[in-house]
Point group: C2
Chain length 270, copies 2
């Protein structure tokens, strides 16, 4: 054990999120809602109450005159460190599995001790939850981006799927597909379910739109969405072992498969 304080490297970008300090436990492990209402859910799905909506994403808003201006800097540092903890957790879960990762492991990876981790996070469960949220956020960004494109729905769907694939190939993706609700409290579990559903509904909607605008072959949106999402989710399972392709390449390959279908086509195209 090094007694010397090497101080964790805390890499990463600052999100400058003012975080209501809800350190004291005693209630739902999920922190109280903050500035979620204005950002509003991008997709049509409604977000479960009580969820602190994560980083506001691309909408760069300045959280203005904090009455707590005193420790503005400090606050920012804290958030940076908190994210470092989450990332470290994601990495560890990814490599050793959730249950085989102890909080001591995560702490060690950050060169701190367990209580330090607990200072930024209420419990292990929440770590997993935050990893999930981080992944969802990336996927949401994909939906947002695609929404404004003026192209046929099938191509918007492609854009979403590319984002989706990239997330699945990331460490957060692994967390997303491996969460088992049995490991989470009912609260967390239902929140996660809601987010999953939100994504699912988003995909279905794009499919429906595609069928309507004629860019997608008539099909059952539900089952088609299941098939697409399943393929992509599964990336998280094998990508660790086999990184011979980039996430983008995988996405394109899958899209080609999805688009063409197995059945031979008269008019073969790229």
């Amino acid at each position: 054990m090094t007694t010397r304080r090497a101080r964790a490297p805390v890499t990463g970008k600052a999100k400058t999120r003012v975080d209501a300090r809800t350190r004291s436990n005693g209630g739902s492990p999920v922190n109280g809602r903050a500035a979620a209402a204005d950002a509003k859910s991008v997709l049509d799905g409604d977000v479960a109450p009580g969820v602190r909506t994560p980083a506001p994403g691309l909408a760069g808003d300045r959280p203005p005159p904090s009455p707590w201006r005193a420790s503005r800097e400090r606050q920012r540092d804290r958030e940076v460190k908190r994210e470092a903890v989450i990332r470290a957790a994601a990495h560890a879960f990814n490599h050793k599995g959730y249950h085989n990762t102890s909080l001591d492991d995560i702490a060690a990876a950050l060169e701190v001790t367990k209580p330090t981790v607990y200072y930024y996070v209420t419990n292990k469960e929440q770590l997993l939850f935050e990893c999930f949220v981080a992944g969802v956020e990336q996927i949401r960004a994909g939906f947002r981006e695609a929404r404004d494109m003026e192209i046929p729905a099938r191509e918007r769907l492609h854009a979403v799927l590319r984002h989706y694939a990239k997330t699945m190939a990331s460490e957060f993706g692994w967390c997303m597909v491996r969460v088992e609700e049995q490991d989470l409290s009912p609260d967390m579990s239902s929140h996660i379910k809601a987010m999953k559903s939100e994504i699912d509904q988003g995909i279905r909607r794009l499919i429906r739109e595609g069928v309507q605008d004629g860019s997608i072959h008539p099909c059952d949106p539900k089952m088609t969405a299941f098939a697409l999402a399943g393929s992509l989710n599964w990336i998280a399972h094998w990508y660790r072992e086999n990184r011979s392709m980039s996430a983008a390449e995988i996405a394109d390959a899958f899209i080609t498969v999805f688009d063409n279908g197995l059945q031979p086509r008269r008019s073969a195209r790229s």
Copy 2:
């Protein structure tokens, strides 16, 4: 840094104190590692000590007449009970997750006690392994069945996928997709990897054949297999929650999606 395994009784550091204890019991018939050596592995790899080599698969023969003089009836009973243990384990894993299932749980479900379970199985890890094998066996059966059909490769593929989907909707399917190698000893892990690869290769081969015989649109067999398998594997994740369709219906729906593809077709068919 030592990779921690779940609750492995063997700690990284040599204690050398209790080593003598673990041996020299009354020679349990199950974990006698001496017996494993001569029985020799049926598969090509060397089998971990104590691992009962699973059903030999495509060769399709039952475990041969044991030269044990003991009553055959008894032997059969034992096998029946052993399978009951495995099924109970699969059920419990399925509902509570591997790590959240204790062997006491499994024992309780069978209305026996933990040592009884250990009488049929060497450890928890092996239980998971056996569940996996059970699933693989079902899928192998699908391949066998399809192999003899005299139809285009794409339709043989359909047959395989239907079996596959059915397995994934079963309790064993869940075990198959949720095994994390970190939970298994290296031996087990590599066996499982081999079986996964076997299935993957089987699907790729069917795809290649389909491309050759013209029943499948030209494509990259590898990525196509990934996409197909991913969709089906994912069934195991959501089927518990949503049993509104039978496995066969799901399979057919997926096959329709895969066959047609997203892109509109001139000649729309069923």
